[in-house]
């Protein structure tokens, strides 16, 4: 550090004078001895956050310095977008994930990732540096500013359940607590803005933030449960359809208890894949309308009581609206609504409803008449060119319990629906918001959150070109995911909708990327036997990432997409 440092840091120092003097005068009222930055870091650590994903910038350098000296580990990504996706993945596993970036040029780069976290109930904490309070004087034009100093906060107010600006040492601790508690309660993102001249300002003592309790109306809850119990009891062939919210609100145990107490089989939505252990004898498989297997579809659609638990009724989960569930005989419990048939119950929380259902004294049903999902078994590789169907079969045969599958949207996701996931929460995908380019940065978050699990990433060539170079971050921190690139020369899922040159991408020699990064193992694969050999090498290469570039025909699709096509082809044929 030379004179240059004195210079560049000069402005905030001068202006901090005002704030310091102000707080100094409050000293006799008693100080906490802890700065705002330190408190934020301590609270995050207490909430089981061990890593922070981000890119430094001048407005957040002070906080990065504090982070470096803290128990939290900084994971620097190449671009802020990568940090946003990594924090999202981390949050899905650990209950909170932090992305820490500079003002505007950093913060506004993670808007899309945070929007995805909001849409899919992932509690991401956005910590953004910002111009100092002392710099925010009339007419000053500080770099990175958009319209005014509040522009970024306003943008995030659309994508979060709380936005707080830590501009007051008397309220900062309480505001941090409020944000973190709301992130946990709603399982959705929050935004914390830390002006650079407040990082080292001491907190004034204040009251702890108490989040008002959120409870069900006991009388309505009893009534709703009685109706549900009656409906379930009188049903001949009830079935549970479980989704994403089960995972986000930690209700896997209640779900399993309810299923085992009643003997009712469980299907999952694509977004909820792996919330119920796929090895459980009560597991049916994925329900995806015409995209899913016939057996599961028939079982769900012929049921006289579908119990939807945390299952968002999105177009993707419903197989692009090919699903047919009789609403009049269904029971629905979600974060937004609890209903039995067409009757909705205000003031009943999903959590309480599910808890009460699981604690009811049920009579267990005799083993239902259905096929438990079975592992597809080994794959006999031949000298045949790779197909999407063979690829997923081979991956199924290769998957082990210590792996977590991360699927990017597109056919990587649709195909992954058929994978057999042994245990709960070992499948990660943005199955509703569907932002391309999620999977590789998500592997960074996952590797940090659960070092005992090896990520197996499925990503298309188009999506890889968005964020795939975050393999650099993976190399930097010595992570070892297996990355499988489905290289079919473009946006394969869009071609059947409407094709044109705009669905092409420039071809990359993905397998050469290790040369650029000076790390990693790259393998290009054209046949089933080459794929089998590549997976074997990936299995033993624990030192670095393995990138397998799988060459596929341009118009080849996953079995799931083909099923959807066949089913709708039938309908079209019937009509004409």
């Amino acid at each position: 550090m030379g004179p240059l440092s004195a210079v560049l840091a000069r402005l905030p120092v001068v202006l901090m004078y005002v704030v310091r003097n102000q707080t100094a005068s409050m000293r006799d009222e008693g100080m906490t001895g802890e700065t705002i930055g330190d408190y934020l870091i301590r609270r995050l650590h207490e909430e089981d956050v061990g890593h922070v994903f981000g890119v430094p910038g001048d407005f957040v350098l002070g906080l990065f310095k504090k982070l470096e000296d803290s128990p939290l580990k900084i994971i620097n990504t190449c671009d802020e977008q990568g940090a946003g996706f990594a924090a999202d993945a981390y949050a899905r596993l650990r209950g909170l994930g932090v992305v820490c970036i500079t003002y505007a040029v950093g913060g506004l780069k993670v808007v899309n990732a945070v929007a995805q976290a909001f849409a899919e109930w992932s509690p991401v904490v956005v910590v953004s540096g910002a111009p100092g309070i002392g710099e925010r004087v009339h007419g000053s034009m500080i770099h990175h500013t958009v319209r005014d100093f509040d522009s970024q906060r306003k943008v995030f107010s659309e994508l979060t359940v709380a936005t707080v600006v830590l501009d007051n040492p008397a309220t900062a601790a309480s505001e941090i607590d409020r944000a973190l508690k709301l992130a946990r309660r709603h399982s959705r993102p929050v935004y914390i803005e830390l002006p650079r001249d407040m990082v080292s300002v001491e907190l004034l003592p204040g009251r702890e933030y108490v989040l008002p309790a959120e409870t069900s109306d006991a009388e309505v809850l009893r009534f709703a449960i009685a109706e549900a119990v009656e409906k379930i009891g009188s049903a001949k062939r009830p079935v549970i359809l479980a989704g994403l919210e089960i995972h986000r609100f930690g209700l896997q145990h209640a779900l399993a208890k309810f299923a085992h107490a009643t003997g009712i089989p469980v299907a999952a939505t694509l977004g909820g894949k792996s919330v119920f252990a796929e090895s459980d004898l009560l597991y049916l498989g994925l329900y995806e309308g015409a995209m899913g297997s016939d057996a599961v579809r028939d079982y769900v659609e012929q049921s006289d009581c579908v119990i939807l638990l945390g299952a968002m009724l999105t177009d993707i989960n419903l197989g692009i609206y090919t699903a047919h569930i009789d609403r009049s005989s269904s029971i629905y419990a979600g974060k937004d609504r609890v209903s039995v048939g067409f009757r909705s119950y205000d003031g009943v929380l999903m959590e309480d409803f599910m808890q009460a259902l699981s604690e009811h004294s049920w009579t267990i049903r005799r083993p239902a008449d259905f096929e438990h999902l079975k592992h597809p078994g080994p794959f006999a590789a031949g000298e045949r060119p790779m197909t999407v169907a063979a690829l997923f079969h081979q991956i199924n045969a290769f998957l082990r319990e210590d792996m977590v599958v991360i699927a990017d949207p597109g056919d990587a996701l649709f195909g992954a629906g058929d994978l057999y996931i042994h245990d709960g929460t070992h499948f990660l995908a943005p199955a509703y918001y569907c932002s391309l380019g999620f999977a590789i940065p998500a592997a960074i978050g996952m590797a940090a959150a659960a070092p005992n699990l090896r990520p197996l990433v499925l990503v298309g060539d188009g999506a890889f070109q968005m964020t795939g170079m975050e393999l650099s971050t993976i190399a930097r921190y010595g992570m070892n995911p297996i990355v499988i690139v489905l290289d079919n020369d473009g946006y394969g899922t869009e071609r059947p909708m409407l094709d044109g040159a705009f669905n092409d991408v420039h071809r990359w020699n993905f397998a050469e990327i290790p040369l650029v990064l000076g790390a990693g193992l790259g393998i290009k694969v054209g046949t089933e036997t080459e794929m089998a050999a590549a997976l074997e090498r990936a299995g033993t290469n624990l030192q670095s990432y393995t990138l397998i570039q799988v060459m596929l025909e341009r118009n080849d699709h996953s079995p799931a997409l083909s099923r959807l096509a066949a089913r709708l082809g039938e309908r079209v044929a019937k009509r004409s």
Copy 2:
């Protein structure tokens, strides 16, 4: 197209029925015979837009198909962020630039690029696909949706001067016109949302949108000009400081006319570099406070009348607040304010003020006592390791009139301030908002906007890792920029402020990237003679991009940053 297409496109078709029927009933009121999509494309083409930058996605596929069949050329980037930056660069040169993306997962990825365009007066038109109006029914959960269907528009309302949703065939044409006219008037971004079921809906006849005229108050204008003329006339050594807004509002001609009529020399801000031809005998050089040259600094700071024209007083332009301009004797004309000394004049437009100044009958001054900026001359390369100073000297010697310099923020930008730009507007950099990763995507926009100019890109290693793989797009469309990577092992501009491992980046073998992309020429350079040879090869390689990876010492800085350090070192020494 097989049955799959029928399926996936099914939903919007069914729901469009409502809209179609509604418009059909209006048919007897007369139709225009032109669809909303076609009108949008025609209007953009009339506004001199020849290219559209974007990434397709299902909500915007219909518009992409129409674009493919139109005179506009689609440039597909790897990631939407790249398309946003490319459109920004295109807009800076052509007066409008279009980024066309899908809903949310596309639109929310360009928020940062659009924020930069807003901050730096660049008229970017965001065209976003969206769920169909017919799909936006109560409780429907369509993929890519954040909070509600209006979330994305609300976000963009913070970053644009108009947001329009083309949901009504009776108003769509007028709304498109309003948006485009406002983008031009304010030279700032606008947002146009096109629901997918409205692309092919026919326009109903409507009135043309008339933008209310914006004129100066003639009486106040006369008064202000009289005061300015008096102040300038009585000044002994006036000087013009010209900035960015001159370029954005097309006032280069008025500036040149004013300077030549008065004989007053012109300095430029870093953001306004090249708004005044650097070969003009009245050109002084860049004024950047302590960061700029002593000669220019002394001339400006000792002037008894600084005439600031379109010169935003940002921290970067002011050399991190090391500038000293006597406000009481200055004249200021900007988009937000016109003032003489401390007197501001309401209702006076910058354009009219400058026009009136340039048309006044001045007495020309005798050639002022200053050094006209001279080209630094050839560089004698030796077997010395590369330094930042040598690099910029070598580039100066290499630059030709048919090149345009694009500088990424950081020392690439500070150093580029010393480059000698022959003609106007041949320098492009986000010198206020300073978003890293701008330069390489900007080269795409520039190559499309001005195929006669060859981009010379200056980018740091950290910034390259954010968006540099858009070289893929450059390869795809056969563009041939020269990309110089200042490889100094991390965020070099941040190290002097506050250093830590967070300022490091994973090292890339940038010169190997052509292997991954199957196109381009990559050269790694360690010494001055190697650099000279590399530039020579780049000069003759017109078939593809040339990437020159320049190895620099970790703590080496540009002459501009070193000047700033030295000047402030003096001050610190004086104080202690």
